[in-house]
C-alpha cells in the first residue's frame, strides 16, 4: 500500500513539474539570447499571444530567426542578429507601431515555436505545403532557388550526378527536403549551414545544398576551393520566402501584408535589398 502511495505521489509530482514548465513562460530567462532592437519592454510583455487573441494586441512582437543564414540573418558585430530579414521586420514593426524583439534559435524549431515561444518567424523561410498546415504565411517577399556548393573540379553538374552522393544540408531547410528525396543519397543534417560547408572542405560530404544567397556568401569566403552551382541546372524549383505567423491570426497576417506592401511602395524594401543582398 505504501509503495503504491509513493508511486502515485511521484507521478503527481512529475506531472506537476512538467506542466509547470509548460505554462509559466513569462520568466525572462531567455534574456541572454534575446536581442531587443529597441529598449526591451517590461518582462511581462514577453508573453506570446494565446491561440484566441491576435498577436497584434501586444506592444512587443517576439520574432524568431536563425542567425546562420547570411545575408538574410547572421550574428552581427555585437552578436545580435542582423541582416536583411532583421531590418525588414524592424521596418514592419515600425509601420505597425510595435516594438520588435528578435530571438535567435534553431531553424528546425522555428515553426513549432510560432504561437507559443514567438509571434512571428522571419528566417528566409520558404513557403511549403507542409509548413502551411502549421502556420500562416505573409505574401512572399523574396524569390530564391537552392544552390549546390561543390569543391572546384567536382564532377557534379546535373541532377543525375547527385544520386548516391553524400550531401550536407542544414536541418529542416528546403535543401534538406530536396536532398532527402534524391535517390541513394546519404544526407548529413547540420545545425548550421556553415558546418556543412566546413565538412565539404574536409571532404566528408560531396556537396552542400543550400539557398542561393547564403551559398554565394559561403563560396565568396572560400573562392579558391568552392563553387556554387545554380539550382536550375539540377531542376530545383524557384521558392518564395515569406514571414510565418500563427495559424488563424488573420488580423496579424493582414497587418503584416499591408506593411510589406507600403514598404515596397515607398522604396524602403528596395533600399534594404540593396544594402543587404546585392551589396551596394
Amino acid at each position: 500500500m505504501k509503495k503504491l502511495l509513493a508511486l502515485v505521489l511521484t507521478g503527481v509530482l512529475g506531472v506537476s513539474v512538467l506542466t509547470a514548465c509548460g505554462s509559466s513562460s513569462s520568466a525572462p530567462s531567455a534574456a541572454a539570447e534575446t536581442a531587443s532592437t529597441e529598449v526591451a519592454a517590461a518582462s511581462t510583455e514577453t508573453e506570446t499571444a494565446s491561440a484566441s487573441g491576435s498577436a497584434l494586441d501586444k506592444d512587443t512582437l517576439i520574432i524568431g530567426t536563425n542567425a546562420a543564414f547570411p545575408p538574410f540573418e547572421y550574428a552581427g558585430d555585437d552578436g545580435t542578429p542582423a541582416g536583411f530579414d532583421v531590418d525588414l521586420i524592424n521596418a514592419i514593426g515600425e509601420k505597425l507601431g510595435k516594438k520588435v524583439e528578435v530571438k535567435d534559435m534553431e531553424f528546425d524549431s522555428l515553426v513549432a515555436s510560432i504561437g507559443n515561444k514567438i509571434d512571428i518567424a522571419i528566417a528566409g523561410m520558404t513557403v511549403t505545403e507542409e509548413r502551411q498546415k502549421m502556420v500562416d504565411f505573409s505574401d512572399p517577399y523574396y524569390e530564391a532557388v537552392q544552390n549546390v556548393i561543390v569543391v572546384n573540379g567536382s564532377e557534379i553538374a546535373s541532377a543525375d550526378d547527385l544520386k548516391n552522393k553524400k550531401i550536407g544540408v542544414q536541418l529542416g531547410t528546403t535543401g534538406d527536403f530536396i536532398a532527402s528525396d534524391i535517390e541513394g543519397s546519404e544526407v548529413s543534417q547540420y545545425n548550421k549551414a556553415v558546418d556543412a560547408v566546413n565538412d565539404l572542405l574536409n571532404g566528408r560530404v560531396d556537396c552542400v545544398i543550400i539557398d542561393a544567397n547564403p551559398a554565394q556568401e559561403f563560396v565568396s569566403q572560400h573562392a579558391e576551393e568552392l563553387t556554387a552551382l545554380e539550382g536550375t541546372q539540377f531542376g530545383f524549383e524557384t521558392e518564395n520566402y515569406a514571414i510565418a505567423m500563427p495559424k488563424g491570426d488573420a488580423a496579424l497576417v493582414e497587418a503584416v501584408n499591408q506593411a510589406l506592401k507600403e514598404l515596397k511602395e515607398d522604396g524602403t524594401f528596395d533600399k534594404l535589398v540593396a544594402e543587404n543582398i546585392t551589396g551596394e
Binding site: D108, V111, A112, E130, L171, A196
Partner: protein, 228 residues
Amino acid sequence: MTIGEKFTSAFIAENRWQLYLKGLGITIEIAFFAAIIGLILGTVLALMKLSTHKDGKPAAMSYISTAYVDIIRGTPSVLQLLIMWFIVMKSSNNGVLVASLSFGLNSAAYVSEIVRAGILAVDKGQMEAGRSLGLTKGMTMRYIVLPQAMKNIIPPMGNEFITLLKETAIVGYVSLNDLTRAANLIQSRTYEAFMPLIGAAVIYFVVIKALTLVLGVVERRLRRSDNR
C-alpha cells in the same frame, strides 16, 4: 490534429519509427565503444595517479594523469566533440569512431577517479599484508587490492555508464543521427514537438532502466560473499 494523427505522423508515417531505431543503434554503439575506451584508459590513468616512488613521493606518471583529468574535466564535452570532429580528426569520415573516441577520452577521466576512489577505499592493511607475505607491489595490487576494489567501483561505474549514454545526445552537433537527433529530424518534418521528443525520452528511459536492472544483478552477486 488529434492525438492519434500526431502519433501516426511522428512514428508510423513514412516508416519514421525506423529513424528512432537507427538513432538508438547509433546512440548505443557510441556509448558502448566509449565505455570500453573509458574503462581501459580510466583504469590505466587511476593506476598512474596512484603510482609512487620508493620513498612514497608521487611519480612523474602521477602528474601526467592529474593533468589529463584536470583538462578533460575542465572543458565541456560538446566542445571536446567539436574539437575532435573539426580539428583533431578532421580527415576522418567515420562519425561513430570520432564520437566514440571523444566520449571515451572524456569518460576515462571520470572513470579514473572512480577507480582511484575504489582502490583507496580498500584498507591499507591489505597491501601491507600482501607485501609482508612476499608478493611484489604489482602482484598485491592485481590479486588482492583490485578484486576488493571492484566492489566499491561497480555502483559509481554504473552511474558513469548511464551519464555517458545520455551525454551522447549531443552528437547531433556533428550531424550524426543518434536518437535525440532522430527526434529533432522528425520534428523538423512534422513541425510538431510533443510526440517525437516524448517518444525519444521514453526510449532513453527504457534502455537506461534495463541497464540499471542488469547492474543491480551484478552488484547483488558481488555482495553475496558479505553475508557470512
